[in-house]
């Protein structure tokens, strides 16, 4: 095997090995879509035993947020919504990415309430619940708290919530240093009475998100792309210097043919 051939094989093998290691470290595992379902926990009343001791400890009544026949149901937003949170688990240092929070409408979008009766049986039935949109302006408010990264906009973002209209919040995140960053995304609803009364606020959700800022041997996203582009051109010119000559010869052979064809016409 000639010396030149051995050098060529060795250099290509090393480069392929390096590129392969790099690609496998960069390839992210398929990210599964996380679906978290909230569970409604039904509390049950435990009847105390009929003895003298039970008189000292009367049974504790179980509170329920479901409407009872005796009380007027509380006004509520008459639609089921989905909170969809989308965020990047990994960002290159110096690059920015988006965190998006959307309050979408559920596929069915219907309101189905349960009524709890005195015998503690739960029966599903259509209950007339006052429409909150008729008496209040509903405003969705979202706030991102994350230390160590730059994000915009800061503070709380407010968006009016209208019936049947999804609400979207977007933050731009820019990590300046390598590290793991954990933040909390808060979602509140503010109810402003149409008749000018005092507004009230309710927390809907607090979601924790983790973002990892990475670099490659100390090189961030923008420098890596710049060095990669320049180095590709330089490396191509150094290693494939004959290609320039071949392209020039090809151009020279094509140009005289077209010039003579135009002269004949």
């Amino acid at each position: 095997m000639s010396y030149k051939y051995r050098c060529l094989v060795l250099s290509y093998s090393l480069a392929l090995l390096f590129a392969g290691i790099l690609l496998t470290s960069c390839m992210a595992a398929p990210t599964p879509e996380l679906i978290i379902r909230t569970e409604i926990i039904e509390k049950t009343v435990v009847e105390a035993p009929t003895d003298g001791a039970s008189e000292a400890f009367p049974p504790i009544a179980t509170p329920s947020l479901a409407p009872t026949p005796e009380t007027t149901p509380l006004p509520a937003v008459p639609e089921e919504r989905l909170m969809v949170l989308e965020w990047p688990p990994k960002i290159r240092v110096g690059d920015s990415d988006l965190i998006i929070l959307t309050l979408e409408l559920d596929e069915e979008g219907n309101l189905s309430a349960t009524a709890q009766f005195e015998d503690h049986q739960v029966r599903s039935s259509q209950v007339q619940i006052p429409n909150l949109y008729d008496t209040h302006n509903v405003v969705a408010q979202a706030r991102l708290d994350m230390a160590g990264v730059e994000f915009s906009p800061q503070g709380e973002i407010s968006e009016p919530m209208r019936p049947g209209v999804p609400v979207k919040f977007t933050w731009s995140v820019l990590p300046r240093q390598v590290g793991s960053y954990r933040g909390t995304l808060w979602l509140h609803l503010q109810f402003i009475p149409l008749d000018g009364g005092e507004s009230s606020r309710q927390a809907l959700s607090a979601q924790v998100i983790d973002i990892e800022a990475v670099n490659l041997f100390g090189v961030g996203g923008v420098p890596a792309r710049f060095i990669g582009a320049v180095g590709t051109v330089v490396g191509a010119l150094l290693s494939m210097d004959k290609i320039g000559g071949w392209i020039w010869r090809a151009i020279k052979t094509v140009l005289p043919k077209t010039k003579s064809k135009n002269d004949a016409e």
Binding site: C7, L34, P75, P78, L82, Q202, D241
Partner: protein
Amino acid sequence: MDAQKIRRLIGIVILLISLALLIWGLWPFGDLVRTVPIDPQDMQLPTDEGLLLELFWGYM
């Protein structure tokens, strides 16, 4: 080994390292999506009694 061979070898190494940097710089890492359903019961008008019950039972 003459200068031309060394130049080509260096060019190949620079080319491959640069391609690796370029691929890493442009590789999409992808996003995570979390979907949480919100019940209409959670979007009810808060009352003083409801607030007290929530504080007592730690419901949030």
